[in-house]
């Protein structure tokens, strides 16, 4: 690729004039797609020997909060949720079949609204932890609703729900807090992302 072509491509990637979904630039969309892919792939590949429900929230919600923190625009959570949800369906993650999409999409959607409520200050550990915990709980609620929709007996859905909610909160908060630390360190170095 020669110099003028490179410059043209750089200009294209950084051009604020061309916006796609949710008024996000192409470069942002690509970055968010990458985060979404990372979420699905990490869930597929990583096997943490922690035998507690919701332990995957550490990296799942961590990556979501990190993506949102680094690209602080409305819709970034939705894009990440969309990409990871589609990939989860394609990779056959979970036993809910096609409905597994919602398990990935809803936390992303929720994060978009939560970030607005917290003024996009996801680099704050408290905000990161709260957002992580809440989107982790939203995933648990989607699980519950999918269980009801798929006619899974109430005995299996309700028993142990309290314990599950605690573990989801703890792991989600841990993931969110870790993401906040990463955002705080990374953000100043990525000032020219736009």
């Amino acid at each position: 690729m020669n110099q003028p072509e490179k410059e043209e491509l750089a200009a294209e990637l950084s051009s604020p004039l061309d916006r796609f979904m949710f008024d996000l630039g192409l470069a942002d969309l690509m970055r968010l797609s990458m985060f979404g892919t990372l979420i699905a792939i990490s869930k597929y590949v990583l096997r943490i020997p922690m035998h507690l429900p919701g332990h995957s929230s550490i990296y799942w919600m961590g990556l979501l909060v990190m993506g949102k923190g680094l690209i602080p625009k409305f819709g970034s959570g939705i894009i990440m949720g969309l990409v990871s949800g589609i990939l989860a369906v394609v990779l056959g993650l979970g036993k809910e079949g096609v409905f597994v999409f919602f398990k990935y999409f809803i936390p992303g959607l929720g994060l978009d609204f939560l970030a607005v409520l917290f003024f996009y200050k996801l680099e704050s550990i408290w905000v990161g932890a709260i957002c992580g915990a809440l989107i982790s709980l939203s995933k648990m609620l989607v699980n519950l609703l999918l269980g009801i929709a798929l006619n899974i007996p109430m005995v299996f859905l309700a028993m142990g729900l309290g314990f599950t909610s605690i573990t989801h909160t703890v792991f989600g908060a841990a993931g969110g807090a870790l993401a906040a630390i990463v955002i705080k360190r990374l953000k100043p170095r990525l000032a020219n992302w736009e």
Binding site: D18, M21, Y44, V89, V90, K95, G97, M159, F163
Partner: protein
């Protein structure tokens, strides 16, 4: 501007439709139904999420793996890395545990704490012999590969090449003199199959399959009747299969089938991973194309 938005919706719609269709096909191929697993649930889909035995301990925390001084009335606590006490699979899982003294099966109680009562104990299965064990005797606890986790996909066979797990241990005390005599005397023509399979044939559902599965594995050491296990240390051995397991031909055909299923499952996953990468690459390409087109216009 409107034209581009229209493009966007068409492209996104196509991608969504394609992935949803593919996903439903995948789930139909890969997963078993929630409770009506039956035969499918028994075999499971080994591969993507492995089920492993984490530990086997006595009540006092002694690791059975390296103990040769097991009490005569032991209670073994087996910890797995997934929910193995799920009510719907329990009848199958319960029948996956067998205790052998050489070739003869010893009656055991296999118990659990149900996950609807205590969610934290869902990885534990407890095994206890009904009668006290003989002192100074070698025993083998066998866990069949059909052991299945709650998700309906993960089987022990997926992590043990469909062979299950053998745990050997020796009880405390001196072996009674009478018990030292050979259990079964060999008769001419019995060399190839020296051990009575009487007990094996009496196994419950699924066990016949298990026992014969073991027969087909690559056998390194063979535990024979009347022949004490050379290594007194209790060891989890996945490849040691006693010849007591020699059985009907029916199951011999099932082993390649199980392996084939595992291989096809893995190749399907690889195929899907490649497909998903292509999908994302395609998306990005379309984005570039639209952007360039938009600029030209």
């Amino acid at each position: 501007m409107l034209g581009r938005k229209k493009y966007w919706f068409i492209i996104m719609g196509t991608i969504l439709l394609f992935t949803l269709l593919l996903g439903s096909a995948t789930s139909a191929l890969g997963s078993t139904s929630e409770g009506g697993g039956g035969a499918e649930a028994s075999s499971g889909t080994s591969g993507s999420k492995p089920l492993n035995l984490v530990s086997i301990q006595l009540d006092d925390g002694t690791d059975v793996q390296n103990a040769g001084n097991i009490p005569l009335i032991p209670q073994f606590t087996l910890e797995f890395d997934k929910n193995v006490v799920y009510m719907i699979n329990w009848e199958n899982n319960r029948s996956c545990f067998h205790l052998y003294e050489n070739d003869s099966e010893v009656a055991i109680n296999v118990t659990k704490i149900d996950d609807t009562v205590d969610f934290t104990k869902r990885h534990y299965i407890y095994v206890q012999p009904i009668e006290p064990l003989l002192p100074g005797t070698d025993y083998s606890l066998y866990i069949a590969p059909e052991l299945i986790a709650k998700n309906g996909n993960s089987t022990l066979g997926g992590t043990t090449d469909n062979q299950g797990i053998w745990i050997k241990f020796t009880t405390a005390g001196q072996k009674p003199a009478a018990a030292e005599e050979p259990f079964i005397s060999k008769e001419p023509g019995q060399e190839d199959n020296p051990v009575s399979t009487e007990d094996s044939s009496e196994n419950e559902l699924g066990n016949t399959e298990t026992l014969n599965t073991a027969q087909n594995s690559s056998v390194n050491t063979i535990v024979q009747a009347g022949e004490p296990v050379s290594d007194t240390d209790a060891v989890i051995e996945q490849e040691e299969i006693p010849e007591a397991r020699v059985g009907e031909e029916k199951v011999i055909e099932e082993i390649p089938a199980a392996e084939e299923q595992q291989t096809s499952s893995m190749s399907r996953e690889k195929y899907l991973a490649v497909l998903s990468v292509v999908l994302i690459a395609g998306w990005v390409t379309v984005e570039f194309y639209l952007k360039r087109k938009g600029k030209k216009n």
